[in-house]
C-alpha cells in the first residue's frame, strides 16, 4: 500500500470519527440546545413554576385580548396539540399577529398562565408577493407565478 493511500484511509477514518462524535454531541444537545419550549412540552411537565424559561408557539386565531389598562395583552400560544395562555405587558414586534409564530421570555405562574417579560415574533420560511399572501393558503399555491 502506498503512503498516499495510507494517509487517505487514515484521514477518512479520522473524519468519520469526528463526524460521529459531532452527531452524538448534537443529538445529546437535542433537548438542551432548544431555544424555547413548546406548549406540548409544558403540558408534559417540563416547566417549573416561577423559573425563567422561553415559550414558543403560534398565536391562536382570535385569542389576542387587550386588557383594560391598554398595554397588557392576553393570548393563547398553541402548537396544535396543546396550548398555554400568555399574559404580556409591553410593546410587541410589528410581526406579532394571530396565526403567526412567537417566542416569549418569562415564567409560568401557578395558575398555568405564562407571564412574559418580552415577546419576539417568529416568521416562517415562506416568502411571496403581497397579493398572494392575502389569498387563502391553497389558492396562493395554485396561483400562477409572475
Amino acid at each position: 500500500m502506498k503512503a498516499k493511500h495510507q494517509r487517505l484511509i487514515l484521514a477518512l477514518v479520522a473524519l468519520a470519527g469526528v463526524a460521529g462524535a459531532g452527531v452524538l454531541g448534537a443529538s445529546a444537545l437535542r433537548d438542551e440546545a432548544a431555544y424555547f419550549r413548546t406548549p406540548q412540552e409544558i403540558r408534559a411537565g417540563k416547566a417549573v413554576v416561577g423559573e425563567p424559561m422561553r415559550l414558543g408557539g403560534m398565536v391562536a386565531a382570535g385569542s389576542i385580548e387587550r386588557q383594560a389598562d391598554g398595554v397588557t395583552i392576553r393570548f393563547v400560544a398553541t402548537d396544535g396539540k396543546a396550548s398555554v395562555p400568555v399574559q404580556f405587558t409591553g410593546i410587541v414586534p410589528d410581526l406579532f399577529a394571530e396565526e403567526s409564530g412567537m417566542v416569549a421570555d418569562g415564567r409560568m405562574r401557578a395558575d398555568g398562565t405564562f407571564v412574559a417579560d418580552r415577546i419576539l415574533a417568529k416568521h416562517d420560511e415562506r416568502y411571496m408577493p403581497p397579493q398572494m399572501g392575502e389569498m387563502p393558503k391553497g389558492l396562493a399555491k395554485a396561483a400562477p407565478q409572475g
Binding site: 498516499k4 494517509r7 487517505l8 484521514a11 479520522a14 473524519l15 469526528v18 463526524a19 462524535a21 459531532g22 448534537a26 443529538s27 444537545l29 437535542r30 440546545a33 432548544a34 431555544y35 424555547f36 419550549r37 413548546t38 414558543g56 410587541v92 414586534p93 410589528d94 410581526l95 406579532f96 403567526s100 417566542v103 415577546i119 419576539l120 415574533a121 417568529k122 416568521h123 416562517d124 420560511e125 415562506r126 416568502y127 411571496m128 408577493p129 403581497p130 397579493q131 398572494m132 399572501g133 392575502e134 407565478q145 409572475g146
Partner: protein, 243 residues
C-alpha cells in the same frame, strides 16, 4: 488533476480567468441587487425588510461553502501533499470569514425589525458565530510568518484543524431542523423553494454573482501567495550566493 497542481500551469489559467470572474460576478451582483431592491415586490408579511435576503442568503452560502472548500483543500493537502491545495485553503480563509461576518451582520439587521431582537443565542446564530471563530482561528494558525515557513501551504496541524472544523457545517445546516429555534426553517430544500418564484429569481443572480466574486478573490489571493513564495525563494537564493 495533477497537471493543475503545478503552480505555473495554475497561473496560466488563473490569470486570464480572474478578470472574467470579477467582471461577470460584479455585473450579476449589481443586476441582482437592483432587481431585488427595485423590481420585485416586498414580502406579503415582512414588506420591504425581506429584501435583505438577497445579500444575507449568498453570504451564508459563501461562509459555509468557504469552509467546505477549505476542508476539502486541507484533505487534499494532507493526503496528496499538493502545495496548491494548502495555498487555496489559505486564500479562502479571509473571504470566507468576511462573508460569515456579513451573514451575521445582515442577519442581525434583519432580526431587529422582524423578530424584535438584534441577537439571540439560538442554534442557527450560535453555530454561525462558531464558524466565524473557526475562521479567525484558522487565519491566526496559518497567517504571518507561518505561511512563509510552510512555503505558502498548510502545516499538518492547520490541515487537521480545517477538517475538524468542517463538522460545524452540517450542524449549521441542520440547526433549525434539530432544535427549536428563532430562525425559521430552510426555505430552499431539495424538494423545492418556499420563496415564491416572483421573489426568488434575483436571489439566483446575487447568489451566482457573489460566488463568482468569491472565486475571483480566491484566485487573486492564491496568485499573491505564489508570488510571495517566489520572492522569498529568490531572496534565499541570493543570500546563499553571497555567502
Amino acid at each position: 488533476m495533477h497537471a493543475y497542481a503545478n503552480p505555473t500551469r495554475f497561473l496560466a489559467i488563473a490569470k486570464p480567468l480572474t478578470p472574467w470572474l470579477l467582471g461577470v460576478g460584479l455585473l450579476l451582483l449589481l443586476g441582482g441587487a437592483w432587481a431585488g431592491l427595485a423590481l420585485v415586490p416586498g414580502d406579503y408579511k415582512q414588506g420591504e425588510t425581506a429584501r435583505i435576503l438577497y445579500v444575507h442568503v449568498p453570504s451564508a452560502w459563501l461562509g459555509m461553502g468557504g469552509w467546505t472548500s477549505l476542508a476539502v483543500a486541507g484533505l487534499v493537502q494532507l493526503v496528496w501533499r499538493h502545495p496548491l491545495a494548502g495555498i487555496a485553503a489559505r486564500a479562502i480563509a479571509v473571504p470566507g470569514m468576511l462573508f460569515t461576518a456579513l451573514c451575521l451582520a445582515t442577519g442581525s439587521i434583519w432580526g431587529k425589525p422582524t423578530w424584535g431582537t438584534w441577537w439571540e443565542w439560538d442554534g442557527r446564530m450560535t453555530s454561525m458565530l462558531v464558524l466565524l471563530f473557526l475562521y479567525a482561528g484558522f487565519i491566526a494558525l496559518t497567517g504571518g510568518d507561518e505561511g512563509q515557513k510552510q512555503g505558502g501551504t498548510l502545516s499538518r496541524g492547520a490541515a487537521v484543524y480545517a477538517l475538524v472544523g468542517a463538522i460545524n457545517i452540517p450542524i449549521i445546516n441542520r440547526s433549525v431542523v434539530w432544535w427549536n429555534s428563532l430562525h425559521q426553517g430552510p426555505s430552499i430544500t431539495v424538494r423545492g423553494s418556499s420563496i415564491d418564484g416572483a421573489l426568488l429569481w434575483p436571489l439566483g443572480l446575487t447568489l451566482l454573482g457573489f460566488s463568482l466574486l468569491f472565486g475571483a478573490i480566491v484566485l487573486m489571493r492564491m496568485r499573491r501567495i505564489i508570488a510571495d513564495n517566489r520572492v522569498a525563494a529568490r531572496l534565499r537564493r541570493l543570500a546563499d550566493d553571497e555567502n
